[in-house]
């Protein structure tokens, strides 16, 4: 299994509070991603990073920011959490394999915004 951890694994927070989720990898992969999973939508990309301090927006980036100051860590921040951000959040990593940039996923963080 790829060495990817996410913290916290579960979090309940109130509307309007800031929340930071952490993804940590031990694989030295260049690319890191944050997805959210909601019923009926599969996983949707929030932000991704292609190197230290290099990030870009994904499909559903509104209300989220990210930072990557080290290769191994990718942080996702909800500046002011809303109920619509209740979801399961997955981090993924990738690098050029034999044929493609296969992505490997962390265990997920369940976030509930009340």
């Amino acid at each position: 299994d790829a060495g990817i951890t996410q913290s916290p694994r579960h979090k309940v927070t109130e509307t309007g509070t800031p929340v930071t989720l952490r993804c940590h990898q031990t694989e030295n992969h260049r690319y890191m991603y944050w997805y959210r999973q909601d019923p009926g939508h599969g996983l949707r990309l929030i932000h991704y990073s292609y190197g230290v301090k290099d990030t870009d927006k994904g499909e559903v980036s509104d209300g989220y920011s990210v930072s990557r100051s080290k290769t191994e860590d990718f942080l996702l921040t909800l500046e002011s959490a809303t109920s619509s951000q209740t979801s399961v959040y997955f981090c993924a990593i990738s690098d050029l394999g034999t044929f493609s940039y296969e992505q490997y996923f962390g265990p997920g963080t369940r976030l509930t915004v009340t």
């Binding site: 939508h41 599969g42 991704y48 870009d56 993924a92 044929f99 296969e102 265990p107 997920g108």
Partner: protein, 114 residues
Amino acid sequence: AQTVTQSQPEMSVQEAETVTLSCTYDTSESDYYLFWYKQPPSRQMILVIRQEAYKQQNATENRFSVNFQKAAKSFSLKISDSQLGDAAMYFCAYQDNAGNMLTFGGGTRLMVKP
């Protein structure tokens, strides 16, 4: 933008029998990658099989194989000799040649009956 459609929200199969999960996608690209991921109740996203669009030969991984029809933009997953441990959500995913993000279908829940 690419879209991925899984038209079967739920499927069931008898243990030891074969089941096929459907996936269609829309893209204007000629080079891309396709994946099937399995998500058991543990929530972990597990890569099952991948297919490179430039390869005509269908990918196989033990009991898992795909039927890749590039012209029809179809990418189905066949599970042979189904086992109880195959019960899970299955997601089809598309990745463009740049490899920056995955676009997921909405998922198919597979139930395996003993």
